[in-house]
Symmetry: C2
Amino acid sequence: MPEYSSTFSAESYFSTQPPPPSLEHDIAGVKEFVRRQKERGRNVVLVTSGGTTVPLELNVVRFLDNFSAGTRGATSAEYFLKAGYAVIFMHRQFSLQPFSRHYSHSTNPFLDFLEIELDIEGPSASVVSDEASAASQICVTPNKREALLEVLTAYKAVHAAGTLHTLTFVTVNDYLWLLRAVSQELSVLRRKAMYYLAAAVSDFFLPRQKMSEHKIQSGKGSLHIEMDQVPKILKPMVDDWTGKDGFVVSFKLETDPSLLVPKAQTSLQRYGHQVVIGNDLNRRKFEVVFISWKYALPPSSTSDGTNTTESNSPFAESWLRIDPHDHSKEIEEKIVAELVKKHEVWVAGAETL
Amino acid sequence: MPEYSSTFSAESYFSTQPPPPSLEHDIAGVKEFVRRQKERGRNVVLVTSGGTTVPLELNVVRFLDNFSAGTRGATSAEYFLKAGYAVIFMHRQFSLQPFSRHYSHSTNPFLDFLEIELDIEGPSASVVSDEASAASQICVTPNKREALLEVLTAYKAVHAAGTLHTLTFVTVNDYLWLLRAVSQELSVLRRKAMYYLAAAVSDFFLPRQKMSEHKIQSGKGSLHIEMDQVPKILKPMVDDWTGKDGFVVSFKLETDPSLLVPKAQTSLQRYGHQVVIGNDLNRRKFEVVFISWKYALPPSSTSDGTNTTESNSPFAESWLRIDPHDHSKEIEEKIVAELVKKHEVWVAGAETL
């Protein structure tokens, strides 16, 4: 066991932190899914979604979490599926998923739109007797039917076609091990693989060596938590795990608008992947900025036209917006359309090399 | 504004930390609900459920969380409703709720058991054409119907009777303000009010004065978080907010089994309420221990008979267990039955004073 170090590289991370017990089983499933998509010549996107946790104890009672309902990832996954992609949906357990996201138990509980109908004549539909229960139908109320029919039809089509594969993570450790292994599996698809990293990943963590077995007792006056930085994995991901051919899209979430574009540009420069999507926490549902390379990929026509690129800058900057008051629209529709176009160019690029 | 102090009493907490914006609206709803139940002479139980968060920034990206799916609270609420109680279900937003808890999108997604049925003759039920969609029914598949019918019937009955009132919290600050205000509203019910405190409440928090506005930047080598203790609110709750007449049940969750009974007893001694339910993290789904006062409330016959009380101890200790392999049973059924009996004695006790 290597000596404990307080600064982890990706390499020292994986050699000191234990893999999750389900890893082998999870990867066997991914391998099979990828094999099937390769046979069909389908593009595959890995969508990561939701926040990762940092447990503070081995018997987890308390943990540090990153705020993320999973809206971006779950919504985008639906549009990728609609666009004909196969999707590996790697999400935080219990966070939003494609399709079921429309029916949150808190905001749109499905029990509210089910009616009990009796198959026999006589008693009114709202009376359920013992003799009747065996012959009852439970159906969706008419005014909810149309919206649900659309979601349900898409859901069933995706299941029939086998184009959605779902994985879950909880801790940042689960996430890192899974991300590496899934990327390595997807690398066989070369340029046809996209990586859409929408998960909210912990920046800091508690190495196993620092964790205590039992619940931290709260008798003391105050609690001090000292945490180490999670190694940046975009570099090994781009340079190594994805086989250098993958189309990698990362996200930058900021609360200070003035930091958004500079930090997104810095990230793209540092890691050399394809796109950074920047979003301001308070505007993310109706506005995002695409930072990409000016010369590898020409600006697309689905952006709203404000292509502000300085002549000396290697970066292209493209803002996508929707009307914040139009609740029938989702910005992920524009995001995915833009990425599908860029990915198409990327895949075609392989043929011209 | 009082000078910043690192040790908070309940009093200094409420005078330095701001109430949640929704408090007034939430309490108006509770007031009305309690008034209606008082008219009907119904017992009311406040069930708190799920974990509280401690935001680390004002624009919340990271937060400290307490592990709790809300199973205990959501399951108990269903049994309390079944026993004829009115329930105020005060839970962590998006955690499990009574009834919908059976249909987690992850483990039992409802979209899987809906079928599209055409109202017209001809096309098979699995083919949906444009002309047909307007005349389609969406119904539950036969093999899922019976189980869902039971849940749905109970759900509709509770809604018709108006015996379930739901509130949500996210942060420990929301929780504390809400708990105090709801308890004060319930105090008008005197002994008919029960308080079932199953929520996993943060022991430590970051006072507003210590929080930064923007996302903590992860450029530094390591992250230090220094937190203050959340004031213990059981004391003001028992002595003050509940009007001294409420039947208060608290929980103790431990990972070290040897600490379970001693800590539960210490808690009951310290706060003078009615019951502490102790549970070991790894055994909580099939075993709990009730610590109560030996002489105020005689042991009930629903416990499994292992009433181990030492002659000098003022405490009664009663273990409730179910078979861990029998997945048709839920321990909350026993917990609630035991509490209903104890509460009945408590309510009757008022009439003999």
